[in-house]
Symmetry: C2
C-alpha cells in the first residue's frame, strides 16, 4: 500500500494533490445544476457533491466553492430561490463535463453543448431534457464552512420526475436502470451496476 | 415519467418516502467509519454521505443524524478527536451493511461481522483490514443544520493508505481497480466501472 501523511499531502504539486484528494473520498453523485438569471440567461454546471440530508422534509445539500465555476449558479439560485438538479446518464457525460469550462456569465452552457433545456409545471429554472431523474429544488439556506471558505447549500425537493422503469413498488429507485453515472475524482465518469439490495439490518441474536 | 410534487412526497408512507428520497439524489460514497471509545470499545458504522470539501488542506465532510446509529461514533470522535474512514469493496458489502444494525454501545461491530480492525502509525482509531483506501481523519468542527437537525462533520485527512494498483502517476485514484462500491438509496450496493476520464474542460473558441 502507498502511505502518505499530512506533510506529504501538503508537499505535493497542486495538480497531483487535486487528483488525489478528490479521488480518495470515493464515488460521488453526478448532477447538472440548472439555473437562470434575472435577465433570462440559463446556466448549467456539473456538480459532484450532492448529499442526502433527510427525507421528511425532502432535503439535500451540496458544496460550492465560491471561487470556481458555479458562482453564476450561486448568484442565480440566491436571486430567484430555485434551481434544478438533473441526474447525468451515460450518454451525457461528455457534455456534462464540458459545463465545467469557465464560460463568462452571458454564455449559456446549453448553447455550448448538445444538452437541451426543458421547462415544466411553471418552474422557472431549466431542467435538462432527457435526464432520468429531474428535481425542482428550492434554496433554503447556506452554511459557511470556515475551515476552507466553502459553502453548504441546503435545499428542498419540491418537484420530482423519475423515468418510469427506475421506480420500484416500495419507492426505491434503481439508478442503474437509467444508466446514471457516478464521478471518480475531478474528471472520471463511471457506470455502476447493482450488486445487491439488503434487508433492513437487525442485530444478530 | 413519474411526477411527484412536494405534497405527494409528504403524503407517502414513511418507508416509501425513505426509499424514494434516499435514492433520487444519486449514487453515494460508501465508507466504514471506525472509532473507539475511551473505555476501548471499537465501533464501526456504514456511512454514505462523505463528500469532498477541499484538497489543501485535505478536508472532507459527512452528515450525521443524531437520532440514528452513528451516535456512538459521534461521541467517540468528539471525545478523542480522531476516526478512520475505509472504502468499502465488493467483498465486504454484506458485513458493511450489517454495521447499520442497532447494537448497544458495549458491542463492537467488529465482533458481529468478519471485518477485522487494524492499527497503524500510532493512530488510535481502528482501520478496516483489507479496505482498498484507508484514511486516518482528525475531527475539526461540526455545523448544525437547522432545517432538519442533522450535523455536518468537518474533518482533515492526516493519514492516507491506498492499495498500490489504484494510484496513477498524476495522483488520480482509479476506484474500480479496488472494486470499491457505491450506495444506491438506503440498502443497494452497486459496483461502478470507469467509462472515461476527460481532460480539463476549456471554453470552445
Amino acid at each position: 500500500m502507498h502511505y502518505f501523511q499530512k506533510e506529504d499531502l501538503e508537499g505535493f504539486s497542486k495538480i497531483y494533490r487535486l487528483n488525489l484528494i478528490n479521488s480518495v473520498t470515493g464515488y460521488k453523485s453526478a448532477h447538472l445544476l440548472g439555473t437562470v438569471s434575472h435577465s433570462g440567461i440559463e446556466n448549467l454546471a456539473v456538480l459532484s457533491s450532492v448529499v442526502h440530508l433527510g427525507s421528511n422534509p425532502a432535503l439535500l445539500g451540496f458544496i460550492l466553492r465560491p471561487t470556481t465555476v458555479p458562482r453564476h449558479s450561486h448568484a442565480n439560485m440566491k436571486a430567484n430561490g430555485i434551481f434544478t438538479l438533473n441526474a447525468i446518464s451515460k450518454g451525457q457525460i461528455e457534455d456534462a463535463h464540458h459545463t465545467s469550462a469557465k464560460y463568462s456569465e452571458e454564455i449559456s452552457e446549453f448553447d455550448q453543448t448538445q444538452l437541451k433545456p426543458q421547462y415544466k409545471e411553471g418552474w422557472e429554472a431549466p431542467y435538462v431534457h432527457g435526464a432520468p431523474i429531474q428535481m425542482g429544488c428550492r434554496y433554503l439556506n447556506e452554511y459557511s464552512i470556515l475551515e476552507n471558505d466553502t459553502i453548504l447549500i441546503v435545499a428542498q425537493i419540491e418537484h420530482l420526475y423519475i423515468d418510469s422503469p427506475l421506480l420500484g413498488e416500495d419507492g426505491w429507485v434503481q439508478l442503474d436502470q437509467g444508466e446514471i453515472v457516478s464521478i471518480n475524482g475531478l474528471d472520471g465518469y463511471a457506470l455502476p451496476a447493482l450488486l445487491e439490495r439488503f434487508e433492513y439490518a437487525r442485530p444478530k441474536k
